[in-house]
Symmetry: C2
Subunit: 319 residues, 2 copies
């Protein structure tokens, strides 16, 4: 099969069709999404080598005796070793030997076929269209904010960053009943949050006042500056984004106001699928363009253009 492969450079490359190991299934990939982390892979993040991509929806194609055969699925991306202390404590997603779909030691989704442990799969309800289901992984990552920093319906919350992640975080936080503000730099992105009950501001125009919780989803030091300057004493700053380089942290900014700075990564697929199924989150406004897999290099280039939100790759064309 031909897949979008990264080895110092991305390329469309002929690779063997994957063979499932014990407990694994083969998924025929239908749609996949390009994430900011994929763009960081292009810059050498993780030192990854293999088929790229971790956001997908597809159908189980093998093995023939799997109860999953023929079912439409999405899949969690972390694969723990199953034996270490973290896996045994229920923290398989943080296993030190974990593989991560399309990011670490595991071929990914920009391909006609991928393999994953059956334990990683979630069935997609029939009423969820493919263009919704492909957002399960990023929407779950957005929902993760509510797990690491539960937000009260009477809270004031600020989301910093109006990319796909920041927008999805603002949408799901607004569903909690909280007062949600979104700060960003792209008026056309901010416009996608306003109809969903989010008050939006250009970062430079954010009105005075502080917030119980601030979610940093801009992936920039300036975003973390803003987050730390606007969180109230004893409030929480959730860091959703990594970036290359160091942030010059003033310890007094955390210690004196007793602020909580907490990292946040992958989230609950089941909750994301429920919101997509029930129409609570319509991700379609995030889609900029869809490319066929054979034009995957163009898709990566397009995703890097300023202001582009989500680029999808349709993997159904080839076999």
């Amino acid at each position: 099969m031909r897949a979008l492969y990264f080895d110092e450079q991305p390329a469309i490359k002929e690779v063997p069709r994957p063979v499932p190991g014990p407990g694994e299934v083969v998924v025929r990939v239908h749609l996949a999404g390009i994430c900011r982390t994929d763009l960081e892979v292009l810059k050498g993040y993780h030192g990854f080598k293999g088929i790229m991509g971790h956001e997908f929806v597809g159908k189980v194609a093998a093995p023939k005796d799997s109860p999953w055969l023929g079912r439409r699925v999405v899949g969690e991306i972390n694969i723990g070793c199953g034996a270490c202390d973290l896996c045994r404590r229920g923290l398989a997603g943080h296993c030190r030997q974990r593989r991560v779909l399309g990011l670490k030691d595991q071929d990914g989704a920009f391909a006609p076929y991928l393999t994953l442990p059956a334990a990683n799969l979630h069935a997609v309800p029939p009423e969820v269209p493919e263009v919704f289901a492909v957002f399960t992984e990023p929407l779950a990552a957005a929902l993760r904010v509510m797990e690491v920093a539960p937000v009260s319906p009477s809270a004031r919350v600020l989301v910093v960053g109006d990319g796909p992640l920041g927008l999805q975080v603002s949408w799901v936080l607004a569903l909690s009943g909280a007062e949600v503000h979104l700060a960003g730099h792209h008026p056309e992105h901010l416009a996608l949050a306003r109809p969903r009950g989010v008050a939006t501001y250009l970062s430079a125009d954010l009105p005075a006042g502080d917030y119980d919780t601030v979610v940093e989803a801009s992936g920039s030091p300036a975003g973390l500056d803003l987050a730390l300057s606007r969180v109230r004493p004893r409030g929480t700053v959730v860091m959703k984004s990594t970036y290359v380089g160091r942030y010059p942290l003033d310890p007094a900014v955390l210690v004196v106001p007793e602020v909580n700075l907490v990292g946040c990564r992958c989230g609950p697929f089941a909750g994301a699928l429920r919101l997509l199924r029930d129409g609570r989150v319509d991700p379609r406004p995030l889609i900029d363009r869809t490319f066929p897999l054979s034009r995957g290099l163009e898709a990566l280039a397009w995703a890097q253009r300023p202001g582009v939100l989500k680029v999808l790759i349709d993997c159904r064309e080839s076999d």
Copy 2:
């Protein structure tokens, strides 16, 4: 009265005896303690000008109609405005206009007399000796760790830093039943934790393994390096110490393992007094020397000597 006053330099200086405002009392100071923060005041921290000192025990001397008159007391050090949104939300300790005893806009405890709002006072039970009671404020700050990051009796906890704060934190954490390790650089300090159920290590010799919670009480970038390298995924690092300068934080160190970094400052006096009353914490091994107030400058110099733990100032000599 003569007090230890800071105005760019510390000096023993004649100052007027304080007059209580509405709701305030005058406390005749008996004993006071020198804290690391006082040494930072000497370096210009906070830009403080006034009578130094915030750890004390004394007896209420005025006004004559106060129900507190003649009672032995310790006092919380933060004085909120009482009117702002933070004060009204029960966060007076974080009031943006707050005064802080001996640290910000409020004369402190290295004097024969100080004033505080009566609301800040806690009665010292008669069975608590003065040399115990003077540790109420720092012991409360140590207990605050358990409020911002509750520690389970089955947790593994590391305390980094073997100064007075780190030692007290290790003592109170060990009372929880948790497995507590203390890492430091002074064998003679570490020896003060071992009899209280704490496993102690020179930092360079800390055995492999990670911790559910790490408390950074060393006040050094190297201490925070160690803390962040030894916390488990989804664990908590409590920052107890500020220091001048910036820490070069790698965002991935928090985001990928979803680590929680939380600041921690002043703590619960009532809990500290109960532990002191019941003999659960004997702070006396921390005392290095006690100086009379008239020799306050010597006391400050002594407190800055390497390896010195707690220096006390006896304020009873003069009137």
